[in-house]
Symmetry: C2
Subunit: 337 residues, 2 copies
C-alpha cells in the first residue's frame, strides 16, 4: 500500500475555506484571547492594536497552529493561547514594518502609522511583542518559548538584512531566499511546530510540521512578490506596483534583471535605485517581467516549495486536516492567477 | 540592638564607585555575554547595537542585578546571563525611545537613529529584545521570564502613556508618577528582584529588592528630570533644556505650572504646546522653576523615594554590598548639584 500522492494543481480553484472551516471553533477561542490580551488601561493601545488585529487579516499563522494541532490529533486547548501569542508577534512585526517602509496602506486600509504616527506604532508593537511573551510564559513551556524567541530574533535579523539589501539591483536569488526565509517563513514554521510541542509528539513530527510551515511560508512570500507585478489594486489589499515604486528587490526583479539585455538592466538599476517610478515605468516593468517569464518562474519556484510543504506532512494520517493543509498550499501558489 | 539607621545626605559627595568596584568581576562576565550575544551574520546589527552598548552607559540596571546578588550572598553565575538580558531590554528601549522622540544626542554621542536611520534603530531594537528573551529561556526560569516579560509590557505601556500625555500642560503629578513608574522604575525593580529568584530566596526578599529598585528608579528619573532645568550641557550627555524644547511634561514643570500665577501658566502652556522654545524662553523657564522652588521640590520628592529604597533593604545584613547600594541611592539624589 502506498500513501495517496497529492499533486499540486489538480484542483481547479483551491481555497483556504476548508482550513478556515476546520478551525472555526478553535479560532473563536483564539480571538477571545487576542481581544482580552490586547487590552490596557492606556486607551490608545487597544485602539491602535484593534485597528490592525480586527482589520481583516487572514489570521494565517494562528490558523496554521490550529490546523497542525488537528492534523496530529491534539485534544487539549493550550494551543489557543499560543496561537494568540503567534498572532501578536506577527502584528508587532507588521506595525514595525509599516514604520520601516513608510507604508500607507495595508489590507486595503490606512496603516496605523499614518493614522496615529510612527511613535505610537513602534511602542504598541513593543507592547504586543511583550504580551506575546507573557502569554507563552503563562503556558509554561520553555521549549515553545525557545522556538518563538528564536523565531523573533530571526525575523528581526531578516528585516535588517532586507533593509541593508534595499535598492541593490545585484541582490542574488540566494540572499533573497535568506531574507524571506527569515522574515516570513520562520514564523510560519514556528506556528506549525509548537502544536507538536504542546501535544508532546516526537521530534520527527515537530520537524515535519516545521518543514511544512517553512516551505509554505516561502511559497506564500514568493507569490506575494509575484502578485505585485500582475494584480490589480485591491487583490491583496495591496497596490500592484508598490514593491516596484519602493525599489524593493524581489524574485521577479532578480530574474528579469538577470535575463535582460544591457538596456533592460540599466532600466532595472534605475528603477531599483529610485530614478524610475512613474506609471509608464511600471508598465514597462510589467512588460519586461512577462517577456523574461520572470513572474511565471517566480510562481514555478513557489510551486517547488509548495510541493515540499505537502511532502513534509505526507507521513501523517489522511483526513480532513491534511486535506485542508494541502489545499492551503495549493491556494497559496494559485493566488496569482 | 537596633540596625544602623542610614540617613540620606550624611555623605558629602556620594558616588557610584563603591557599587562599580563591588561588581567589577561580575560585570566583566556580563560584558562578555553582551558582546557575544549582540553578534549576528548581518553586520549592521552588531555595528548599530555596539554603538549604543559600548557608548559609555553606566550599565546601571545590570549593575543592580549584580549588587543585589551580592547583598543576598548568591554565589552562582546565572545572574550574569540575566543581567545581560536586562541590559538588552534597556538598550532596545533606548533605541526605540530615540526614534519616538526624534533625539539626536544620547550620552554625548549622536544617536543611532541619526547615524543609521529610524528603520535600522527600530529593527535592531526588536532584535535585541528577542535576544534578551533567548537569554532568559537559556537560563530556564519561568519566574524570571514572567517578571521580565511583564516589566517589558509595563515599560511599553508607560511609553504609550507618556506619548498620549505629550504637550498636555494639565498633566498631574499622579499621572506623571504612573508614567515614570512604568517606563523607568519597572525595569530597575525587575533587575534587582531576579537576583532573589535565581538565589531561591523568600518572596519577602524578592519584594524587598523589588521595592529597592522601584524606589531608586523613581528617584533616578525625578533627578534626571530636574537636571534638565539646572545642568550645563554635557553633565549627563544630555543638553539642559532638551525636555523643555520638546515640550515634555516633567515634575519641575508640573510644580512650576501649579504654583505660578495666570501669566506664568500661560507661559507654560505656550511652551509645552510648542510655541515657546527659544533660548530666552528656556532662561525664563529656569527662572520660574527656581522662583517656585519646583526643582528643589522635585529633588525633595526624589529624596523621599530614595529613603524608601534604603529602608526597603534595611532587613539585609550590613556589609560592603549594602553600603554600596545605599551610596548608589545617595548618588542618585545628589547628582543634580
Amino acid at each position: 500500500m502506498t500513501a495517496t500522492i497529492h499533486r499540486l494543481g489538480s484542483r481547479p480553484q483551491p481555497s483556504l475555506d476548508p482550513m478556515v472551516r476546520l478551525v472555526t471553533g478553535d479560532m473563536n477561542s483564539v480571538n477571545a484571547v487576542i481581544l482580552d490580551r490586547m487590552q490596557s488601561e492606556i486607551p490608545l493601545i487597544p485602539e491602535l492594536a484593534g485597528h490592525l488585529i480586527a482589520g481583516g487579516g487572514k489570521r494565517m499563522r494562528p490558523m496554521l497552529t490550529l490546523a497542525s494541532a488537528r492534523l496530529i490529533g491534539y485534544t487539549g486547548n493550550r494551543h489557543h493561547r499560543l496561537a494568540a501569542a503567534v498572532e501578536f508577534i506577527h502584528t508587532a512585526t507588521l506595525l514595525h514594518d509599516d514604520v520601516v517602509d513608510g507604508s500607507d496602506l495595508r489590507r486595503g486600509k490606512r496603516t496605523a502609522n499614518i493614522i496615529w504616527g510612527n511613535p505610537a506604532s513602534v511602542l504598541v508593537g513593543d507592547f504586543l511583542f511583550s504580551r506575546s511573551f507573557e502569554l507563552m510564559v503563562e503556558d509554561g513551556s520553555l521549549k515553545v518559548l525557545k522556538i518563538l524567541s528564536n523565531a523573533s530574533a530571526v525575523i528581526a535579523e531578516g528585516e535588517v538584512n532586507q533593509l541593508t539589501a534595499a535598492r541593490r539591483v545585484d541582490l542574488g536569488e540566494d540572499r533573497y531566499l535568506d531574507i524571506i526565509g527569515a522574515k516570513t517563513a520562520a514564523l510560519f514554521a514556528a506556528a506549525c511546530r509548537i502544536s507538536a510541542v504542546v501535544a508532546e509528539r516526537s521530534d520527527r513530527d515537530e520537524m515535519a510540521l516545521d518543514a511544512y510551515g517553512r516551505n509554505l511560508g516561502i511559497a506564500f512570500q514568493l507569490v506575494d512578490d509575484a502578485i505585485d507585478y500582475v494584480s490589480d489594486a485591491g487583490t491583496m489589499g495591496k497596490d500592484a506596483g508598490d514593491d516596484f515604486r519602493e525599489g524593493k528587490m524581489t524574485l521577479p526583479v532578480i530574474l528579469a534583471h538577470a535575463r535582460g539585455d544591457a538596456e533592460d538592466r540599466k532600466f532595472w538599476k534605475d528603477a531599483i535605485e529610485g530614478r524610475r517610478d512613474s506609471d509608464e515605468d511600471f508598465a514597462h516593468a510589467i512588460d519586461l517581467v512577462r517577456r523574461t517569464r520572470a513572474v511565471d518562474d517566480t510562481i514555478a519556484r513557489a510551486r517547488h516549495y509548495g510541493r515540499r510543504a505537502i511532502d513534509a506532512i505526507a507521513g501523517f494520517a489522511d483526513g480532513q486536516a491534511k486535506d485542508a493543509m494541502i489545499e492551503a498550499v495549493e491556494f497559496a501558489v494559485a493566488r496569482a492567477y
